[in-house]
């Protein structure tokens, strides 16, 4: 749990993997998911790396798998998920897998090709039969005789040699969308020396490749002359028509038709046989494919990781660099030892110093994951920065609940989340693919807390579906008021509004034990009372939240060893925030505690006091809250304003001072160093790699030398302006708590008044009311869930998110890090 507060210590580790054991080591690391490999060959292009041949082989195999998968999908089968944990296979197994899949793929290809050919043949036969059948129909016969009767005289006119000229036929089928173009082209190219008749096929045929039903146009072209015939054949070829022999005698056609039917029957039998064999082969594919895919995927991942390693000068081992959590180092060592034992040489890992910022690693469990997710969505924390997630666990649901305060709505949300939490281990729930559902499911613990806190704030606001509950007796007594002021019947009849005066004894007995007194829900000034309360509450919560954020900054400064910032940044910031807005909170609470109903007429106004505080003025009509108030206020304002220059100039001046001091100290040292360097020239290589600390120190100095005063000053100026203006605007921003809780209360009030109250007031008879209430309650329930729970819930969630990201986290959180993404097979295993 300690790791929640800041990210874990992560070290750069150098792994020496003996060439023989490198594969097993990396595959073991992939199973464990401990380390993130750094690419040591970034400058080498993809195809020049060491294991590119193996990667290519894996890819080759994956291609075959894709083919098999595609075939399985086409057969309408579903691949079962692989069973059990499958480790990456040893490299020598690749050959076996490859051989098996290749054989299977070849077999499948053959069978599929056979099936394809048979189907095409069948299709052809069916088309042919269809064309012949169409030829029977009287329309064509009519066209035929018609043509003959018209043309006969023309043909006979030249006489002699053309006497025996016969009409020839071309029959075939074409896709419907090509038919018009074909018809036009035929007409143009042959100048009308033909008669073409197109008809659509009644029933669609199965497409031989896709298996989808497709309609066809059959055509019958009658023409004269061989030249035209050749042209027609060319044209039909170019439109990819199926052309069939067409016999002129009807009996011959019938005979052919019968023959065709017989053929197609035989063909269908053969096709059935082929399909049975195909399903056998597919069955074998189903067995082989899922584990094979996982294994090869892992293998490829291993080789890709190995590609990131560099080769040692002796070629005996591979050198990898990886980020690894310090806590996992023993596990890493053990894993390496175990997996390299067989080869006799052991792989070793040792820490090396590093100047790059390590990645951020924060371990989460299923409860904290969603809260960490909220923080990470803004930005992954810098390495070892204070992590706001643990505080978010409480503050986020709480701020949400302030805006969503209603016992009923909270309870519904809580129950929904509870159902998800209780069912979280069921496989059906886990496997659900719906994206929206997954979003809710991932945030189930967040929803649970949000619901719980909403119930609490609902009790504070005393609202359950906008109705007040009176668990305890109210603190106000109407009876006492009526008795003491002697309201007559006439007075009561005339006045619909009556005032309860807390100054009359017995009317106000004391504050309600918990939350808002239910009597306020009857009062006409209900809203103004609640507004005042919620507004002040928002400011108080806001100032506390922001001050907490500033305080969290302290842990950052201490951890990163920037103690000067404690004094020069955190202190002025806290003084500024608390001196101005903390004082406002003090005024609010002081007035709640010390100003009573008896003095209500002359109660001081906090607003006027606060404005006067900045103007250093005094309004005589506004009574002081406490003696010497003006002196205290003036001191606070001066103090707060005095903090602005400290904040603005403190850090830059400190840095400059330190920098200059170091510069003054260095020249002497530098010269000596140079001298030493010249003298020790032969040992330069040793010196250059002497101690890493010294090296790091030297680099640090260089960094300091790059300190640009204007840049530092500019940065600090921006920070100062942002903070000081931010204090004002952020405090105002917290008023959204008030606004949204008001909106929520009013919306639920309206829903109750406009729907349920009308329904309840409808019929006095039990039967009528019962019948009418069914649809009305249904409407009420649906609208409650849709508008108040979902819509309002989302908007409150959004505003709570904003308050955390902007108002809270900008006080201390930079979020400029990057996540540790370990090399792991986990995604493949799922």
């Amino acid at each position: 749990m300690g790791s929640m507060f800041r990210s874990e210590e992560v070290a750069l580790v150098q792994l020496f993997l003996p060439t023989a054991a490198a594969y097993t080591c990396v595959s073991r690391l992939g199973e464990l998911g401990l380390v993130e490999f750094r690419d040591l060959n970034a400058s080498v292009s993809a195809f020049q790396r060491r294991f590119v041949v193996d990667v290519r082989r894996c890819e080759e195999l994956e291609k075959t798998f894709t083919f098999l998968q595609e075939e399985v999908r086409r057969a309408g089968l579903v691949l079962p998920p692989p069973e059990g944990r499958l480790p990456a296979p040893p490299p020598r197994d690749l050959l076996r897998i490859q051989e098996e899949t290749e054989r299977l793929a070849q077999e499948l290809r053959d069978v599929r090709g056979n099936q394809q050919a048979l189907r095409a043949q069948l299709h052809q036969l069916q088309l042919h039969a269809a064309v012949l059948r169409q030829g029977h129909e009287p329309q064509l016969a009519a066209a035929h005789t018609d043509g003959a009767s018209e043309r006969t005289p023309l043909l006979q006119a030249p006489g002699g040699p053309h006497q025996d000229l016969r009409v020839n036929f071309v029959a075939g089928a074409v896709e419907p969308h090509k038919a018009p173009a074909l018809e036009r082209l035929l007409w143009r190219a042959c100048r009308g020396f033909l008669i073409a008749s197109f008809r659509e096929l009644e029933q669609p045929l199965e497409h031989p490749v896709t298996g989808e039903p497709a309609t066809w146009m059959t055509f019958l072209i009658s023409y004269w002359g061989e030249q035209i015939g050749q042209k027609i054949r060319k044209i039909t070829d170019c439109f990819h028509c199926h052309v069939f022999p067409f016999l002129q005698q009807e009996e011959a056609r019938l005979g052919a038709l019968q023959q065709l039917q017989q053929q197609s029957q035989e063909l269908q039998e053969v096709l059935g046989e082929t399909e049975r064999f195909l399903s056998q082969v597919l069955g074998r594919v189903l067995q082989l494919l899922p584990p094979g895919q996982v294994q090869v995927h892992k293998m490829k991942a291993v080789y890709l990781a190995l590609n990131q390693c560099s080769v040692s000068t002796t070629h005996k081992c591979l050198i990898a660099e990886a980020w690894c959590s310090v806590r996992d180092l023993p596990a890493l060592q053990e894993a390496l030892r175990d997996s390299s034992m067989e080869e006799g040489v052991s792989a070793v890992a040792h820490r090396i110093p590093c100047r790059d910022m390590p990645p951020t690693l924060i371990r989460t469990n299923r409860f904290t994951a969603s809260f960490q997710g909220i923080v990470d969505a803004y930005g992954v924390g810098r390495y070892q920065e204070v992590n706001p997630a643990p505080y978010t666990i409480i503050t986020f649901p709480f701020l949400f609940a302030v805006m969503f305060g209603d016992v009923g709505h909270g309870l519904l949300m809580f129950l929904f989340a509870l159902a998800m939490v209780l069912a979280e281990n069921r496989p059906a729930v886990k496997a659900a693919q719906n994206e929206i559902w997954q979003t809710f499911f991932r945030g189930r613990y967040l929803l649970l807390l949000m619901g719980l806190f909403s119930i609490y704030t609902g009790f504070i606001y005393n609202e359950c579906f906008s109705r007040a509950t009176s668990i305890f007796p109210s603190g106000w007594s109407v009876a006492a008021m009526a008795n003491q002021s002697g309201w007559s019947d006439a007075f009561l009849a005339q006045h619909t509004m009556l005032t309860l005066d807390p100054n009359v004894t017995g009317v106000f007995l004391g504050p309600y034990p918990f939350g808002i007194d239910p009597i306020w829900s009857l009062a006409a000034n209900h809203l103004s009372f609640l507004n005042s309360f919620k507004m002040k509450m928002s400011v108080i919560l806001g100032v506390v939240h922001m001050a907490f954020g500033v305080v969290l900054g302290v842990f950052n400064h201490v951890h990163f060893g920037q103690r000067h910032r404690l004094l020069l940044e955190t202190l002025p910031e806290l003084t500024f925030l608390l001196g101005l807005f903390g004082y406002l909170v003090f005024l609010v609470i002081y007035k709640w505690l010390c100003v009573w109903a008896a003095r209500a007429a002359s109660a001081p106004s906090i607003l006027i006091h606060f404005i006067n505080m900045f103007l250093f003025s005094h309004s005589p009509s506004n009574r002081l809250l406490y003696p010497r108030q003006e002196v205290v206020q003036a001191t606070l304002v001066v103090l707060a304003l005095a903090m602005v220059p400290v904040l603005l100039l403190g850090t830059p001046l400190h840095l400059l001072h330190r920098h200059r001091r170091r510069l003054r100290r260095r020249p002497a040292g530098r010269q000596e160093e140079n001298k030493a360097g010249l003298l020790d020239l032969p040992d330069a290589s040793v010196n250059g790699w002497s101690s890493d600390e010294e090296k790091a120190g030297g680099l640090d100095d260089e960094e300091e030398a790059e300190l640009v005063p204007s840049e530092v000053l500019m940065h600090q100026a921006i920070h100062t302006i942002e903070f000081c203006l931010g204090c004002v605007s952020n405090t105002a921003s917290y008023l959204r708590l008030w606004a949204l809780s008001l909106a929520h209360a009013q919306l639920s009030e309206v829903l109750w008044a406009m729907v349920m109250r009308i329904g309840l007031g409808l019929g006095r008879e039990v039967g009528v009311a019962a019948v009418v209430l069914v649809p009305i309650f249904a409407a009420f329930a649906v609208m409650t869930v849709a508008i108040l729970l979902v819509m309002e819930g989302l908007s409150a969630f959004l505003h709570a998110l904003r308050l955390h990201w902007v108002e809270f986290q900008n006080k201390f959180y930079s979020g400029t890090g990057y996540k540790l993404s370990p090399f792991t097979f986990a995604a493949t295993d799922d």
Binding site: S45, A46, F47, Q48, V52, R56, K63, T66, F67, K178, A181, R184, L185, R188, A189, K231, K234, I235, D237, C238, F239
Partner: protein, 350 residues
């Protein structure tokens, strides 16, 4: 057309323009070419292309990988993109895109006719046709025996029909006639396209007209160069030149009289644009006239992307992509033929 394309251009064509600019960004960079040139085998080339925007376009081919497969796949990709543009385009952009396909259609028709003349099977030649210039009636081209046959039967319904007015003749189609037909078609096509761009006005005209003028001049030079030592008469030659461009009219008349390369060069000397180009021929690296023109074309096309709100980007993108395909094919050829000395003479796209 109204002036001020920026006011309304994006209503109709903004999406496609954005898309085409995005596509342009995926052209291979200089670094990619450097890596490609280092490849040892076509498989290496494929692996490297996978790291670019080409992605897995070669993933599903069956071994072995050949240059023509790469070429076909790349063309298919380009064609897919172009089809997408075309299907989503509105007038007048769709007309513009149709004009763009016309040149490929002309090439395909001529290719098919040549094939028919040499009695090659249609299937074989279809494979060589550019997918951008594909149309349904294309395969029927070989039934035509004269140009007017060709026009009346086949091309009358295609966008090529208007370009045919000048080439109606009853001459039998032999090799020379087909070449003449191609050049005449091209001439009227370029003139029509030029007129279209000019009439469209606005930035489109400002960008496209220089590109088309260059195209016309290039054709004039190439026709002149190819006609040396053939039976083509000088008058006939002059009728093949597109009648616009920087060379029109004086330069064309001079070109028509040219008898060898040096005389052609003399003509080009009168023009500031073409003088350096023709001087570069045969110089360092043994560049051919074609290479020089390609380089110049690439330059102009890249510059087209500097202006906004015009159709020229579509033209420029397709041309650049084609150049890229030519480059990759060149490199792939050099690799597969182990002829590495010339591998660097691809045309860099800046």
């Amino acid at each position: 057309m109204l002036e001020g394309a920026e006011l309304y251009f994006n209503v109709d064509h903004g999406y496609l323009e954005g898309l085409v600019r995005g596509c342009k960004a995926s052209l291979l960079t200089q670094q990619d070419y450097i890596n490609l040139v280092q490849c040892e085998t076509l498989e290496d080339l494929k692996i490297h292309l996978q790291t670019t925007d080409y992605g897995n376009f070669l993933a599903n081919h069956t071994n072995p990988l050949t240059v023509s497969k790469i070429d076909t796949e790349m063309r298919k990709r380009l064609c897919g993109e172009f089809e997408y543009f075309r299907n989503h385009s509105l007038e007048p952009l769709s007309t513009f895109l149709t004009y763009m396909t016309c040149s490929y259609m002309i090439d395909n028709v001529i290719l098919l006719m040549n094939g028919a003349l040499q009695k090659k099977s249609v299937k074989e030649i279809l494979g060589k046709c550019h997918p951008l210039g594909r149309f349904t009636e294309m395969e029927a081209v070989n039934i035509a025996e004269t140009p007017s046959d060709l026009f009346n039967a086949i091309l009358i319904e295609t966008p090529l029909a208007p370009f045919f007015q000048d080439c109606m003749s009853e001459n039998a189609l032999d090799e020379l006639n087909i070449e003449l037909l191609r050049n005449k078609l091209y001439k009227s096509y370029l003139e029509a396209f030029y007129k279209f761009c000019k009439n469209h006005g606005d930035v489109t005209a400002e960008v496209m007209c220089p590109i088309l003028e260059f195209e016309a001049d290039r054709r004039a030079f190439i026709i002149t160069l190819n006609s040396f030592g053939t039976e083509l008469s000088k008058e006939d030659r002059e009728t093949l030149y597109p009648t616009f461009g920087k060379l029109y009219p004086e330069g064309l008349r001079l070109l028509a009289q040219a008898e060898d390369f040096d005389q052609m060069k003399n003509v080009a000397d009168h023009y500031g644009v073409y003088k350096p180009l023709l001087e570069a021929v045969g110089g360092s690296g043994g560049k051919t006239l074609e290479d020089v023109f390609y380089e110049r074309e690439v330059q102009m096309n890249v510059l087209a992307f500097n202006r906004q709100f015009h159709y020229g980007v579509f033209y420029a993108y397709v041309k650049l992509k084609e150049q890229e395909i030519r480059n990759i094919v060149w490199i792939a050829e050099c690799i597969s033929q182990r002829h590495r000395t010339k591998i660097n003479s691809y045309i860099p796209i800046l």
